[in-house]
């Protein structure tokens, strides 16, 4: 009973903290650039404002355009809620297969792209086509790096993988390092951050994600924005789960949970800070360089796979 409760709290935490995380990244970036920034809560304020605003829909928009925000949000939210954040063994996490996660995210992306094309504006179509092109490269890279991890755990279930990582003694694993680098690269691309996409501008030449949701307004836009914030949170948590799960609660005792929560927030803050640093330091790639970046991620993940077999399989 209590574990179900924890599962719900965990899911809610992920959903509610997501805008805060985005706010955290932009505040960090602002500080790094010697600006004051809009504050941690700004994304929340934006969302609240958008929720109360009126929805304007293009006259020739189909039902697809109207349902897409709900599908995208739901898929992302479900994905987020099955990822363990504090407690390793939650009731839902038995279904928390990484491949299923990737599929849920792909579903969200699919609807996002459809919605982008639905109105028939140039930007929507352009954004959708770019998004799908990059997705075709990013998804294999992500799956590949997950496979590297699952090789030693013999499972793609998150709970099993986390348990395995916690229980094996620490050692240098080149394959894990490769997988982690690849995963980070993919995460950056998937969330439309610099150097792949810039979430803060609407520069028509380069935008990807923003181009697809350009026609949305009001609560539809709020849902879309929120979904993308959740996605960032989801990826950050996933990376924590896969590569540095130490400190997560194996049993649902209050003490263990408190430690797990604290550590989770700490690791989260660390990752997001790293993202802010990277975004400040790096320049955005030209659009045609993105496929190269993503195939680089794939190659690195593949190298992880190879070095697992070459260096670690026999040991």
């Amino acid at each position: 009973m209590s574990s179900i409760l924890i599962q719900i709290i965990q899911a809610l935490l992920l959903l509610l903290l997501a805008p805060l995380a985005t706010g955290f990244v932009s505040t960090c970036k602002a500080r790094l650039q010697n600006r004051r920034g809009a504050g941690l809560l700004q994304p929340w304020r934006n969302l609240r404002k958008l929720f109360v605003k009126e929805v304007v829909i293009a006259s020739h928009a189909s039902w697809l355009f109207r349902t897409a925000p709900y599908v995208v949000f739901t898929a992302t939210a479900i994905a987020a809620s099955v990822v363990p954040a504090m407690l390793v063994d939650t009731p839902l996490s038995l279904t928390a297969d990484v491949i299923a996660l990737v599929a849920l995210l792909a579903l969200a992306r699919f609807f996002l792209a459809l919605a982008g094309m639905d109105i028939g504006t140039a930007f929507g179509g352009m954004g959708a086509s770019r998004e799908m092109t990059f997705a075709a490269l990013a998804e294999p890279a992500m799956l590949m790096s997950i496979f590297v991890l699952s090789l030693s755990a013999h499972s793609t279930n998150l709970t099993t993988m986390i348990t395995h990582t916690i229980h094996t003694s620490f050692a240098l694993h080149p394959s894990l390092a490769f997988a982690m680098v690849a995963m980070l690269m993919v995460a950056v691309a998937e969330n439309g951050r610099i150097p792949v996409d810039n979430p803060t501008t609407h520069l028509e030449l380069t935008m990807i994600h923003e181009a697809m949701i350009l026609e949305y307004s009001g609560r539809h836009l709020a849902l879309m924005e929120w979904a993308s914030m959740i996605k960032l949170m989801l990826f950050a948590t996933l990376i924590i789960d896969l590569f540095m799960p130490w400190g997560m609660a194996m049993q649902a005792t209050p003490a263990a949970l408190a430690i797990a929560l604290g550590l989770w927030l700490l690791k989260l803050a660390g990752l997001l800070l790293a993202l802010a640093l990277a975004e400040t330091a790096l320049a955005k790639l030209r659009l045609f360089e993105v496929p190269e970046y993503l195939s680089g991620a794939f190659i690195i993940a593949f190298l992880g796979l190879l070095s697992y077999y070459m260096l670690e399989a026999g040991v």
Binding site: P174, S175, S295, L303, M310, L311, V315
Partner: protein, 225 residues
């Protein structure tokens, strides 16, 4: 456990070695090719030092210092000077596009793994696992020599092959006898000097460092092909 830590470190360095080999293949700018090449040299020196520590062999420390000086510093510096004097910062255009090259590279790596796998079983050395990676790096260096047009990149490919061979010797067999290593280092040095000489000759004779410009002079004689 001392042995296992050394083993892990060498494995990690082997993985990095593989990474540098891929990175060399993937680079477009001459100067970043050079950076990765220098990095590979440093990596070799570190590997030699770690294996020397692990096996307690003095000869390997000498190798490590030699490698650091020759492959980590001297050769990259020489190449850097050549690049600067000949003004070849421009992008290097490979013969094949980079995705295809990368796919071939992955295939080559798989192949070498497949080939070396049976023989890794028999070795008792602490560093046996890196043999497959060394093999892969040798073949990747060759791939670089084949797919690049510029004479300088070909040479870097050649030197990368040499690096990988050294890694094979250090990483997989705990180092060849010192006499042989000195001999090899001497040959590499001479080769590099001759290469340097050639760059200038080629440049003055052909007004370009593209290999195709050179081969054009042989084609009229190449009636057998």
């Amino acid at each position: 456990m001392n042995g296992t830590l050394v083993q892990q470190l060498v494995d990690g360095l082997a993985a990095l070695m593989l990474l540098t080999s891929f990175a060399l293949l993937a680079q477009h700018r001459m100067i970043s090719v050079l950076h990765w090449f220098a990095g590979q040299g440093l990596l070799l020196a570190v590997t030699a030092a770690i294996v020397a520590y692990g096996t307690g062999s003095d000869e390997l420390y000498i190798s490590a210092i030699m490698t650091l000086l020759l492959k980590g510093l001297l050769l990259p510096w020489l190449l850097w000077r050549v690049i600067r004097q000949l003004q070849v910062h421009r992008e290097v255009e490979p013969l094949l596009n980079s995705s295809l090259t990368m796919l071939i590279a992955l295939g080559v790596t798989l192949f070498s793994f497949h080939m070396i796998q049976p023989i890794e079983k028999i070795s008792q050395l602490i560093t046996r696992d890196s043999m497959a990676i060394a093999t892969a790096c040798v073949l990747l260096g060759m791939l670089m020599m084949i797919t690049r047009r510029k004479a300088i990149t070909q040479v870097i490919g050649f030197l990368a092959v040499e690096n990988s061979l050294f890694f094979a010797a250090i990483g997989s067999t705990n180092g060849m006898p010192l006499v042989v290593e000195i001999g090899i280092a001497f040959d590499v040095l001479i080769a590099a000097l001759i290469f340097g000489l050639f760059f200038f000759q080629i440049r003055t004779t052909f007004d370009s460092l593209e290999v195709e410009a050179m081969n054009a002079h042989l084609i009229h004689k190449d009636d057998d092909e």
